[in-house]
Symmetry: C2
DNA sequence: AAGAATTACTTTACGCTTCAACTATACATC
DNA sequence: GATGTATAGTTGAAGCGTAAAGTAATTCTT
């Protein structure tokens, strides 16, 4: 936008959608986190990380790939994995191919804990999001959100090709 | 869900939408915040709060209403308003009708700062969200997000009726 | 009128994330 | 082989938000 152009203010319809998107963005993590904290002692992000490890080959992923796929910084992930290590749910392993790289591995205890919590969590996700949407709305949301996500994080569309990463397995039909 | 029922796992289509929604939820605030922090020294939430005050009659709102409408806790808002006070962009006033209540008021400096930052911010919002969506997608997203938001925060649909609140003015066509 | 319950914040302490600096390893250039 | 640059994390300090406690005012009940 050049200095002389009029800003492209949002229309009334765009503003309404914007306020709702911001509202969902602010509220959703906290609402889902309430149930997870109470039942599992996990934050929403921690659950998300454990779920991603559960879907990986050998329940193992490079830290850099895990950070990218969970939409977080390496620093944030490093701190979170440190906490999950202390709980015994994740462990760190050096990467045999690259001395700089570290793998995060979901432990047996972590997998058991995740499996135990998944039913209640998916029920809460269904209650808060999917039960209020028609199937056509889910499809439309998915298409539109895909476009927004591609803009927000262009680099994440590519399949990860970091070392120490097997091709992802077919994902278990859980949240 | 009774103890004996099978959990309602997400379908493949639902999972795809879910991962995208979570991705946008995690990434969007930070991406928009980068531009705001750099240009204005404001977090995304701080900007949101100033924008809401700018739209209020006399640029004044009850703290409790402002918290509700900005989807935050009173405690969070109290801390944020304290910081904005220190910057000279907001001030607190006791409510004449209710001794317990506090009004947040946008100062002249705050209004000027917001007006200065609004063009760049709306451009960033347009770039990250609206430029990648078709008008029909904006309408569909708005409808679907409205349903999800109603579920996440049922009480917020009602018009606020706290004391010290005039009916909101027609909102200026800004982000 | 007095006391109990509720409401509207504010404040403190703690946990989590970000920022910036650091360490170690791999790769490119000479 | 040596040096510089880039990469992959880790770590500590500071900032921000949550939980819980506190203060003050209002409303309700007796």
């Amino acid at each position: 936008m050049s200095a002389n152009e009029e800003p492209r203010w949002l229309s009334q319809q765009e503003r309404e959608m914007w306020m709702r998107l911001v509202g969902v963005t602010f509220l959703m993590p906290g609402v889902l986190e309430s149930q997870l904290k109470r039942d599992a002692g996990l934050s929403f992000f921690e659950y998300h990380v454990l779920a991603m490890l559960s879907e990986a080959d050998n329940h193992t992923r490079l830290m850099s790939d895990l950070a990218r796929w969970s939409n977080s910084s390496l620093s944030r992930l490093s701190h979170v994995v440190t906490r999950l290590e202390k709980q015994g749910w994740v462990r760190r392993e050096a990467c045999p191919n690259d001395g700089r790289a570290t793998n995060a591995v979901l432990t047996e205890a972590g997998l058991a804990h995740l499996a135990k919590q998944a039913p209640a969590h998916v029920e809460e996700v269904r209650k808060q999001v999917f039960d209020v949407l028609e199937p056509a709305q889910v499809a439309a949301m998915s298409e539109a959100l895909g476009r927004v996500l591609a803009q927000l994080d262009p680099g994440n569309l590519a399949a990860p090709n970091g070392s120490c990463l097997a091709a992802p397995e077919q994902i278990i039909d859980k949240d």
